[in-house]
């Protein structure tokens, strides 16, 4: 199965699921809706398994990796910068705006969480792929 066929299958499955859910809504039958969604998910899972060799292509992986990294860098820097701005405005304004300061602090925690998650994930994947390479050598 190639990528185009897989995409067609996905569209067909989505139409089937939406039709089932629509009928279920009209007849007020939640079991039918759940069954439709479950069958659709199961079908897609099986199709994806068959088409895995085609779908996991190195080019797509590299592109998505680069896009994810760029998105991460832009988002983290923006959040960190905004947090500093909010904290400063919150403290310097007269009277001090506690809500802005809290927003700034919250954003700085989000930036910190993002950095920590990135480091943890980096460590995990470097361990995972590093070990496999060593064993193969």
């Amino acid at each position: 199965m190639n990528y185009k066929q897989f995409k067609k299958m996905k569209v067909l499955t989505a139409s089937f699921v939406s039709a089932t859910v629509a009928i279920a809504v009209v007849y007020n039958n939640i079991i039918l809706a759940l069954a439709g969604v479950l069958i659709g998910m199961l079908f897609l899972f099986l199709v994806r398994k068959k088409a895995k060799a085609v779908l996991v292509d190195e080019r797509i992986q590299t592109i998505s990796g680069l896009a994810a990294r760029l998105a991460y860098v832009i988002l983290t820097i923006t959040i960190a910068f905004l947090s500093l701005v909010f904290i400063m405005i919150g403290r310097k304004s007269v009277p001090p705006q506690a809500s802005l300061e809290v927003l700034g602090v919250t954003l700085s925690y989000i930036a910190l969480l993002s950095l920590a998650l990135y480091s943890l994930s980096y460590k995990f994947f470097s361990n995972k792929y590093g070990e496999t390479d060593d064993e193969q050598d």
């Binding site: 506690a98 809500s99 809290v102 602090v105 919250t106 925690y109 989000i110 969480l113 920590a116 998650l117 943890l120 994930s121 995990f124 361990n127 995972k128 070990e131 496999t132 064993e135």
Partner: protein, 133 residues
């Protein structure tokens, strides 16, 4: 088999790490929010009664009206942990067993009062180190 075991161990470690990070994140955000709420109550009390935060909160509790946000003030005093407020709060403790459920805006809640007294007597306040100056 060995690689599989190692990979599994790594995965478990990773999931645990992510879980701990998320839990810490929620904890710090909650603490920040608690600090903000205490500050808000202080500001409200100070705008009405003037003076320092603890004194303003004490005045708010001492007011005759039952709908003066007394329980909010008691909660804030407990969070602030200033021992100056301890003798004042203790005089409101009836010493009776706690009723099942107390209305928040009808007089002083014994549950909230005892919680605050416990904190003022040195009870553990996990969130305080994040927001107290």
């Amino acid at each position: 088999m060995n690689i599989f075991k190692k990979n599994n161990k790594n995965l478990v470690g990773y999931i645990a790490g992510v879980g701990i990070l998320l839990a810490l994140f929620v904890f710090f955000i909650t603490c920040t929010q608690i600090g903000h709420e205490v500050e808000k109550r202080c500001e409200m009390a100070q705008s009405r009664y003037g003076g320092e935060c603890v004194d303003a909160l004490i005045n708010q509790i001492a007011e005759a009206s039952p709908l003066a946000g007394k329980n909010d003030a008691i909660w804030a005093l407990g969070q602030l942990g200033d021992k100056k407020a301890l003798p004042f709060l203790e005089q409101y403790d009836t010493g009776k067993p706690l009723p099942e459920r107390e209305p928040w805006n009808e007089g002083i809640s014994q549950y909230e009062l005892r919680k605050a007294i416990k904190l003022l007597k040195g009870g553990l306040n996990l969130s305080a180190f994040v927001w107290r100056d």
